[in-house]
Symmetry: C2
Subunit: 151 residues, 2 copies
Amino acid sequence: MRKTIALTLLAAMAVAPLQAQAPVREADEVIRYRQSLYATIGWNFGPIAAMLKGERAWNAAELKRRSIAVAFAAVQLDEAFAPGSDAVEKTDALPEIWEEPQAFADALREFQGASNQLRIASAGAAEEPIRAAFERTRKACKGCHERFRAD
Amino acid sequence: MRKTIALTLLAAMAVAPLQAQAPVREADEVIRYRQSLYATIGWNFGPIAAMLKGERAWNAAELKRRSIAVAFAAVQLDEAFAPGSDAVEKTDALPEIWEEPQAFADALREFQGASNQLRIASAGAAEEPIRAAFERTRKACKGCHERFRAD
């Protein structure tokens, strides 16, 4: 039931990858939005990672809440790499994002899938699926950053 | 059914108002997160407003998607006004937020309630409930900004 609930809501949020949505946005606004989503992801993923690493006490309710927020922001990223939003200096997004759109779309899909898996696992009580999904999510972050983000 | 779905998910996200969550965050991080949530709200509320004002073609799917995003960010704001996050210069948040916590909590609750009403209305086909909820949401934004945000 919970899976159905969240999947339905996430499905409602889904938009076409890398596709500019009406209305057209200024590059600055796209970049600000993109960075906002990553700030939201970091805000929520940090405490998740600390819990998984044993640096904080386990808090199932918080884990669930924060994993929903990460998965939700991940889906919203579909709108956040509109063409033209590479055209200013204040972004760490590398040109490869737009030069290799399929590879970037794949990397983004992997992050979305992994974070969604983490969200679903975090709704349950079993720790091992949570750890597996966390590891997949962490790798998705790292892989995408190494290839598509400036240091 | 749809109401139940979304309310369940939003309920899972709810945290105590104005209460600092573990772990303790640096003021800078809180402010960045707060501004990120408002950027997300603006990104999504702008096109909604344009639709409601007739400046853009009506798009029910987009309205639904963006109203979910606004309501979701509104709930996340509960974490974004932690004590101490008024202590630096780069915020438009007025001291009244922390000096009049009940009044601010009420204003935030009104925004959360209004945006949730908009989300629910946008899941349906009737235009009038959408317009009523939009108007309530717009007023909640304006009222809070006038009282608690610097020009």
